[in-house]
């Protein structure tokens, strides 16, 4: 009996064979004593195991075991609640633009005291970019006494989309 036949015999025992192959195995069993003996051994092992699974009682008391489970559940619940109450991480997406805006304002304030006054009535210049996902553009009009800074997400198309944040500084 080859290995394939042995595995077929096992599959027959486990009711995993299609009807046609089951009939083939039955024919084999009718003529082959070795196959019958092997089937008997496999069946014996199957039955003995199924009826005699070893017992392994939990080596801890009910209260102690439950206290550890409960502690873990409550720890996870608390962690989830903290995330929910803190608004999750949603606020963080505003952090970079806000920081950029603050830095731009700081830069403008410093520039106001240290840079020479432009002769032209107005000028447009990119001041500085402080975050990868945020940009800013500013212009100053001497005649109007105004200094305007746009801070926007880089994914925004500055020429067509409205700026995400608008800061205006009047001189």
């Amino acid at each position: 009996m080859n290995y394939h036949s042995q595995l077929q015999l096992q599959a027959y025992l486990d009711a995993e064979l299609p009807p046609r192959e089951s009939r083939e195995v039955e024919s084999l069993l009718a003529t082959d004593n070795e196959a019958r003996q092997l089937l008997a051994e496999l069946r014996m092992t199957q039955t003995v195991l199924a009826e005699n699974e070893p017992h392994h009682p939990l080596p801890e008391s009910r209260d102690f075991y439950w206290s550890k489970i409960k502690r873990d559940i409550e720890r996870i619940d608390r962690a989830e609640e903290n995330i929910v109450h803190s608004g999750g991480f949603a606020w963080q997406k505003f952090l970079a633009p806000l920081a950029a805006a603050a830095m731009v304002l700081l830069g403008v304030t410093v520039a106001k005291f240290y840079s020479p006054v432009e002769d032209s009535s107005w000028s447009v210049a990119e001041v500085e970019r402080f975050a990868d996902d945020a940009s800013s553009v500013s212009f100053r009009s001497e005649s109007e006494k105004v200094f305007v800074v746009w801070v926007y997400q880089r994914k925004d198309d500055f020429s067509s989309a409205a700026p995400s944040t608008l800061e205006m500084v009047t001189q």
Partner: protein, 200 residues
């Protein structure tokens, strides 16, 4: 309110419904009822008391978190058993990656020794006390590699089909059949004490 209730007479499906609404006392009752079964399954796969305690506890925590997903298609304890089995399989895979293949596994994969084992014709478990028989089975299970033991447990104790076992163990149905065949043959030999005789 629930703290004053005695849940000992409440059926599992009702306890599950209460637990799904957040009643932790109902869940505690479910843990108390089935903790031995869940632990025993973890132990049978891990063969280690500490791992079995940790993984069975982890299974209960996951069970609580996923309780809303439980639809009642199978019994609650069957559902919990599947969770602990999956956790054990994950852990065993991690262990396997960390250690070299056992000599026994190499021998099995390379030699096909199961084909040459003599057939056990007499039931070696006859006239054994049940406790003695269980002890013997336990010792024999200990001598199998984790792949063979796991297939045997999933098939003989959990009654899973070849294709389900193959999916759980990330292998082919052919591999499951081959491992199961080897495991059964080796168990028969171990129970009959043939291995000891062969060594002498």
């Amino acid at each position: 309110m629930s703290l004053n209730r005695d849940y000992s007479a409440v059926l599992d499906p009702d306890l599950v419904r209460l637990a799904q609404k957040g009643d932790m006392v109902a869940f505690e009752e479910l843990v108390a009822r089935h903790r031995d079964k869940i632990y025993a399954r973890a132990f049978s796969m891990m063969r280690n008391e500490e791992d079995a305690v940790d993984l069975s506890q982890e299974a209960w925590v996951k069970g609580w978190q996923r309780l809303v997903q439980f639809q009642g298609d199978a019994s609650f304890v069957t559902w919990m058993t599947r969770i602990v089995i999956n956790l054990c399989l994950d852990q065993l895979r991690k262990h396997k990656r960390q250690r070299a293949e056992s000599i026994e596994a190499l021998e099995q994969d390379g030699g096909g020794v199961e084909r040459q084992m003599p057939v056990v014709t007499v039931n070696p478990t006859e006239r054994l006390e049940r406790s003695e028989l269980r002890e013997r089975i336990d010792r024999a299970l200990n001598q199998l590699s984790y792949e063979h033991r796991t297939v045997l447990i999933l098939h003989e104790f959990e009654d899973l089909e070849y294709k389900v076992i193959a999916k759980k163990m990330n292998c082919s149905i052919g591999t499951v059949m081959s491992r199961l065949f080897y495991a059964r043959r080796k168990m028969a030999a171990l129970l009959a004490g043939l291995k000891r005789e062969q060594a002498q």
